[in-house]
Symmetry: C2
Amino acid sequence: MALIVQKYGGSSVADSEKIKSVARRIARAKDEGNQLVVVVSAMGDTTDELIRMAQQVSEQPDERELDMLLSTGELISSTLLVMALESLGYKAVSLTGGQAGIQTDSSYSQARILRVDPQRILAELEKGNIVIVAGFQGVTQDMDITTLGRGGSDTTAVALAASLNAEVCQIYTDVEGVYTADPRLVSEATKLKEIGYEEMLELASYGAKILHPRAVELGGLYDMPILVASSFSDSPGTLICKEASMEVRNKARGIAQDTNVAKITVINVPDHPGIAAAIFEPLAKANISVDTIVQNASIENITDLTFTVARSDLVKAMSIVEPVIKSIGAKRCVTDSTLAKVSIVGTGMQNTPGYAARMFRALYEQGINIQLITTSEIRITCIIAEDRVKDAVQALHKAFELEIA
Amino acid sequence: MALIVQKYGGSSVADSEKIKSVARRIARAKDEGNQLVVVVSAMGDTTDELIRMAQQVSEQPDERELDMLLSTGELISSTLLVMALESLGYKAVSLTGGQAGIQTDSSYSQARILRVDPQRILAELEKGNIVIVAGFQGVTQDMDITTLGRGGSDTTAVALAASLNAEVCQIYTDVEGVYTADPRLVSEATKLKEIGYEEMLELASYGAKILHPRAVELGGLYDMPILVASSFSDSPGTLICKEASMEVRNKARGIAQDTNVAKITVINVPDHPGIAAAIFEPLAKANISVDTIVQNASIENITDLTFTVARSDLVKAMSIVEPVIKSIGAKRCVTDSTLAKVSIVGTGMQNTPGYAARMFRALYEQGINIQLITTSEIRITCIIAEDRVKDAVQALHKAFELEIA
């Protein structure tokens, strides 16, 4: 008898018919002889609706209160899912994050899981129950309710799977799996059977948006295989696991793109120690993630410094950078928010010559200008004009022969 | 500095404007230098909406799951109320029933409070917080969420007031207080300044429907004064307390009516031991409350047995009684669902001659026929035709000079 953790997202339980359909899926997995722990998100746009209610009574809702408010969304979906299972004749029980033993720190709205005490879940499984756990939430040591922030329910599922030593953590969502490229851009994009944790991380961070990086990281840390599959079909999905990287070593695995990119260039920066800190420390304090940073070679102690931020952070970032520019004696600052990133991702890529060159040639042949280049162990990213993203992704998909992945 | 417990019902927090208005009321009480614990019901028809959702996925929702589902209604209203208070500049914190230390048995949907551990509430008051508690709910020893059933939030408020040794428990609702009669029937009805627990119990059970009997009983048990007042006006309301009965001893305090009455008469019952049990035990098992029971004097060991049930229970009651009739050898059964109760209520009434006679005369003078009579220590009830209720209540109000209460 295998213990399986499943997770269903908000769109999979958006109304009573969808809840009943998810119940039938769970029932099928139970009939196959598995023990089941199922993590569920709030129904459809419940969370947005609750936030709207909060905004009607307060311009800046207290985070502790907002977390308790938002946690009700998952309580509603999890109890309804139990009722639907019971009306199919299956024994089931719903647990709040707290009841499920998910203990977090007290960083409201973005709490981190400190530990999972799976005692109650194990007792319910022992009784033959299917256990439905409200995702996205936990409790502090003082029994205050917290939410886990973005990707919260995915993280709940992987954390439970790890602590229960489950066979697999199955994430059911509204996509069929992980593709070699965004199928909306590349019609030849193929679904990957397997992908490594690190590869998935690079893909997800760079726009694949299938599974939150936090959940992938946790999966990698505990070596918990994560299946990503559609909750609306029976196609097999993509398994995120450790083994994948060995089998497919030295191969590009997928193309990712991200259009939420803005570039800031500080011109004529005096090139002496402390300048970078003067610019990036206040941005970090304002919780603005700086991505690619490039500094041109210094000529006569004057340099240009370029970096990218999320486009949605651009206005805030500029309000912080502009006063700094004057204080450090730089000349001025220019921005460009018409850019995008395209990346090729694959384990061991950087150790293998030729990948970068192949990427640059493919873009060159399409007449696409590369503005910035940045690389990691398993990723090469080019920043290009946003209106060339589709051409770039298609050209790269072809150049790396991903249609026969 | 006085510690006050307030309770606001669902209609008082039905939308964001009403929540803000309640917040301003609470703020005013805080400004007067009080420590405040506020119990809140679910917004408007949230509970009905949640029940409707449950019914869409299950014909007979599991009670444990339904309780957890329904408990979210009060979490939503209590967190929103905190946000509204904070945006007025007041420190506040919301607590679930469990966090507030309300421990219950595990009778889902109608849990009884076993004890209140007010440690967390006291700690929050100590920090200067206004404490908002989600009404209607508690937790079992196993940390499962329960709801308290009808009158749950009132009961939460009185239980907290008792365990915190509060100065008063203020129940804010959509009526102005307790009247000598239903103001919709008697235009001269006057609001009572005070009323005793037992008097209130008789009034409430007999249709006043202002405060659930369970909360009144608990108040009486712990001698906790309960103020019932409007959440929409500043009029002073009615105080339910022990002293009232001393001051106003031997006086009719109010008239109550109840039109949810049906009469069942079993004709030609053999008059021997065990017959009453044979009829009433199966009714009790089916959870049908039997009210007035009258048995005519036996003539030749044959008697008629009459009793009343809530009109809404009549069909169910008859389905239980009819098979019994045959088995005990009674002749047949007749029902009447066009009846109503009118009662006069006042402490020590039964020990004072003349009240019953005065009541019967007042009804007689209106040509109102009395079908059944039943009395308690502090109440005399007549069962009459429903279409004469208004006349009866007006006549009794006048006969007992309640317009000058």
